[in-house]
């Protein structure tokens, strides 16, 4: 039995080094084939007729003209007369035709009428909501006594809107049947191994008859775990037409229907002793993730376990599509609400926020000392001590300010299976039913494989993105890198043990006395009794060795639970209300880092996504029509390369982090960026802008209510 652990830091050839992602050459040259790029012989193109109303009943539907058009091969009614549609752009009819143009014409030829029904899309005004319920209510300690005893107390109202995932590659797939019951689907999905079962259930065929392939995927951020109704329609149309069908969402549906992070609004009261010690928290929060309500509740208060606290969260139903997990579900909302209130309290206490958080670091749980060192590191990097000033003390029309926020996430490794094959020519490959969302999954697997066999990255091959490979978990919740690195390491060690068995006699040693060192198998500590890897592999005989490994499994290879601190430096033009980011700094721990380069990229990317939802992103639903007013990329704004300021990332490394094993990283760094920027704006202009995104009109509104003029 091998010992399942990570190699000592001094012996690592790949792990912890900065490695360029292995699919870079395919991606930068356009050779990477995404699901949206798959073109099959005889393939049809599908389009969807969507509902233009937020709440309506279909009273008439006539698809006969569409059906009789030349080139139309399948017309599928998803929701028929009598159905009550609950959100704008919901799918009514799908059409597959010989070209997109013909499919468009067919959609236009469909006759449909609706009876309009009342809608509700403005959940900020929860008292007007036709449907809401208490999702969570809890209390710890004695909040009433703490409220009475608090020496300094503030009350605040804060709000963060629903935003969309806005994946670059829209949701969709290409479906192709072989015979009547064998389906292959090229899906843009975060769950290659999980999707066949979803297709099989709906299509009433065996799961083993469904193959899902995702060689590359163009962004998911939590929104792509479902086969989705349009996926099932695509498969059904392909079956009816007896031809492959490509169906990908148009951008308006991608923004309005296929992506949604629930909103959150809160009235918060928080109190402390004069010295800054937090004693009291009370919050009433509410929010909506569409027709299914708020989908959970933000964990309030966030990071800081205030000893006496009560919170109540109300789930509000709105006429919009159901929320999907958005990178760190509920955490960015909780972080923004909590960190805003705490920073407002620090201002009332006339304390520097850095001192305030350091004062309360004892309330931050078992890794509070990590938060302490992260706060100090981040402060050093941004020059906090030299540059911070009390709220609103800048001169001139451009006010500069600093803000900070803290976050936490789990990131426990998911279930994963890996099969490793060693060929007699010395080549090594791994197969996993996993997927690379752009996070570097494939590169990380290759690094673990090469590390274990003492090989170069060119000597190993990694196959992922196919449900025929051993099942691996969906990529959500920052669970992938821990899962696939652990299953790969175990499989590789198991395969290596078999190689040792084969070559041990020739080296005149027992198999358990062998080790891999400098690209050769040797008797432990005896380099003159060794075999190069190629020679060793040649001794395994003509049949390749295969071994499997899974997670969870023996040995401590991964862990969960990270912190992280971010600080923002902004300038606000108090005449125009425009917020400009000067600098964002992230300090992040995540246990043992496999690839430092792609890990840092995750954090850089998260800072940019955080800047995006802090300053620009919002699904704007029209109260009158119930429609999303900005379901396009002109007005659903994302930042460009010049809009994000200077970015700095510091990854916490060293023995303490290293020995925890691998912990996921995708979610945590996106959580606190919005809060840090909001706090920096409050520091700059002397008043809280209670809502994200921090658009100029909101900044000016806040200034009008008092602040730096």
């Amino acid at each position: 039995m091998p010992e399942y652990n990570w190699p000592e830091p001094s012996k690592r050839r790949h792990i912890g080094k900065r490695t360029s992602r292995l699919d870079g050459p395919d991606k930068t040259t356009g050779h990477a084939t995404y699901s949206y790029d798959v073109n099959r012989p005889g393939m049809l193109f599908a389009k969807i007729l969507t509902c233009p109303h937020a709440h309506a009943k279909i009273t008439k539907l006539d698809v006969s003209a569409a059906k009789s058009m030349a080139g139309v091969k399948s017309v599928r009614i998803t929701q028929d007369v009598g159905t009550e549609i609950q959100w704008e752009l919901d799918e009514i009819v799908a059409v597959a035709a010989t070209s997109e143009e013909v499919a468009d014409d067919a959609i236009r030829a469909i006759q449909i009428e609706y009876e309009l029904l009342p809608h509700f899309v403005t959940e900020e005004h929860k008292d007007k909501a036709p449907s809401s319920e208490v999702a969570k209510e809890e209390s710890t300690g004695d909040p009433d006594a703490a409220a009475a005893a608090a020496e300094v107390k503030i009350k605040g109202f804060y709000g963060i809107p629903a935003i969309s995932h806005c994946c670059m590659e829209p949701h969709g797939q290409v479906c192709e049947w072989e015979g009547q019951d064998q389906l292959t689907a090229w899906c843009s999905t975060q769950a290659v191994s999980g999707l066949p079962g979803q297709f099989a259930d709906k299509l009433e065929i065996p799961t083993s008859n469904v193959r899902v392939i995702t060689p590359y995927m163009g962004g998911g951020f939590g929104s792509k775990f479902s086969a989705d109704r349009w996926g099932i329609d695509c498969a059904e149309m392909a079956k009816e037409a007896q031809a492959p069908v490509k169906l990908f969402l148009e951008r308006n549906a991608e923004l309005a229907v296929a992506g949604d992070r629930p909103s959150a609004y809160a009235k918060i009261e928080v109190g402390a002793k004069k010295d800054g010690t937090l004693t009291y928290w009370s919050s009433e929060s509410w929010g909506s993730g569409g027709i299914a309500g708020s989908r959970g509740s933000p964990p309030l208060p966030y990071v800081v376990e205030v000893p006496n606290r009560r919170q109540k969260h109300i789930s509000v139903v709105t006429n919009s599509a159901t929320a999907r997990a958005w990178r760190a579900p509920n955490h960015p909302q909780a972080c923004f609400l909590t960190m805003s209130a705490l920073e407002d309290l620090a201002a009332a206490l006339k304390m520097e926020p850095l001192d305030f958080f350091l004062k309360n670091v004892g309330l931050m749980g078992e890794r509070s000392d990590i938060y302490e060192s992260e706060l100090q590191k981040c402060a050093d990097l941004i020059g906090w001590k030299q540059r911070w000033h009390p709220r609103g003390e800048g001169k001139g029309p451009i006010k500069q300010g600093l803000g900070l926020a803290l976050h936490t996430w789990g990131g426990r490794a998911h279930n994963s299976n890996c099969e490793v094959t060693v060929y007699p020519d010395g080549n090594v490959e791994a197969k996993l039913g996993s997927q690379d969302l752009g996070t570097g999954t494939k590169t990380v697997i290759a690094m673990v494989l090469a590390e274990t066999f003492g090989l170069g990255l060119d000597d190993v091959k990694v196959h992922i993105g196919d449900s025929r490979y051993p099942a691996s978990g969906g990529s959500g919740g920052s669970t992938t890198v821990g899962g696939v690195s652990s299953s790969t390491r175990r499989a590789a060690l198991n395969a290596l043990a078999q190689v040792f068995e084969k070559v041990a006699p020739g080296l005149d040693a027992a198999a358990d006395q062998l080790e891999i060192e400098n690209g050769a198998i040797q008797v432990k500590g005896t380099p003159d009794r060794s075999l190069s890897w190629r020679k060793a592999a040649a001794r395994i005989g003509p049949t390749p060795i295969t071994a499997s490994g899974k997670n969870p499994g023996p040995g401590k290879l991964n862990d969960s639970g990270v912190g992280g601190v971010q600080m923002a430096d902004v300038s606000v033009d108090v005449e125009t209300g425009v917020v400009k980011i000067n600098q964002l700094v992230a300090v992040q721990d995540c246990g043992l880092i496999i690839d430092l380069k792609t890990a840092e990229s995750q954090v850089y990317g998260a800072l940019i996504m955080g800047a995006s939802y802090a300053l620009m992103e919002e699904k704007i639903l029209d109260p009158v029509s119930g429609r999303m007013l900005n379901a396009d990329m002109e007005f659903y704004k994302l930042p460009g390369i010049g809009d994000v300021g200077k970015l700095e990332v510091h990854m916490m490394t060293g023995e303490r982090h290293d020995k925890r094993g691998v912990i996921g990283l995708g979610e945590p760094p996106v959580i606190s960026t919005g809060a840090a920027i909001s706090n920096a704006v409050a520091n700059a202009i002397g008043v809280r802008v209670p809502y994200l995104p921090l658009t100029p009109d909101r900044v000016l509104d806040a200034l009008a209510k008092g602040g730096a003029a």
Partner: protein
């Protein structure tokens, strides 16, 4: 100075701040509307085509290819749906995000906003025409070295836009890069790598290799 301006404007009962507060929605006033690449010169030959499919010839990456397209078909859809040239991506499909950027006679255009029949007779260069995995263009190599891609879906458009940008400005500053590449959007947040990648490629391209 701010006070003086405010004082003057207050006399007219409408300050700049009040105007911005009341006069426009936030989404419209962030001042971050990306600059768009120059559209191709609209061709007007006076000949009416369509509405059915017509035969067209497109010169793509040096090769002339025949294709049957309806006159309303965009260059992007002709490339992706009819010719299986899928490097250019369809994302916003209305000239905002830059993921479909290609070169028309050396000028960057959004292929979603050019009709296929209008692109006839012009040199169309897509990302596939710049380099291949075995023979990377210096920009592609620099994108890899600086990890300027994550999911990679915006990357082909970015690489082509960067090529056009460097053709016009072979020795840019980071500030010029940030202005010049404002017409391309990324969701994963790869901008931190793109700036250094363009600087690195600019360095590598000096000495005549620029149009290699």
């Amino acid at each position: 100075m701010a006070k003086e301006e405010m004082g003057e404007q207050a006399a007219s009962d409408l300050s700049r701040r009040d105007f911005l507060r009341g006069g426009a929605t936030g989404a419209l006033t962030t001042g971050l509307i990306a600059s768009v690449g120059s559209p191709a010169e609209a061709s007007s030959h006076g000949k009416v085509l369509g509405p059915g499919a017509v035969s067209a010839k497109l010169k793509i990456n040096g090769k002339v290819r025949a294709v049957e397209v309806e006159p309303r078909t965009t260059l992007l859809d002709a490339l992706r749906n009819r010719l299986d040239v899928t490097g250019a991506k369809r994302v916003c499909d209305r000239g905002t995000c830059g993921a479909c950027t290609v070169l028309l006679n050396g000028k960057p255009v959004y292929a979603c906003s050019v009709l296929a029949i209008e692109a006839q007779g012009q040199d169309i260069v897509t990302v596939e025409g710049l380099g291949s995995p075995g023979e990377l263009h210096p920009l592609q190599a620099a994108f890899i070295a600086n990890d300027a891609q994550q999911c990679g879906f915006c990357t082909p458009g970015f690489v082509v836009a960067c090529k056009a940008f460097l053709d016009g400005n072979p020795d840019p500053t980071l500030g010029e890069i940030q202005k010049g590449l404002g017409g391309n959007l990324c969701r994963c947040g790869t901008y931190a790598g793109i700036g250094p990648a363009v600087l690195e490629a600019a360095k590598a391209l000096k000495g005549g290799a620029r149009n290699a």
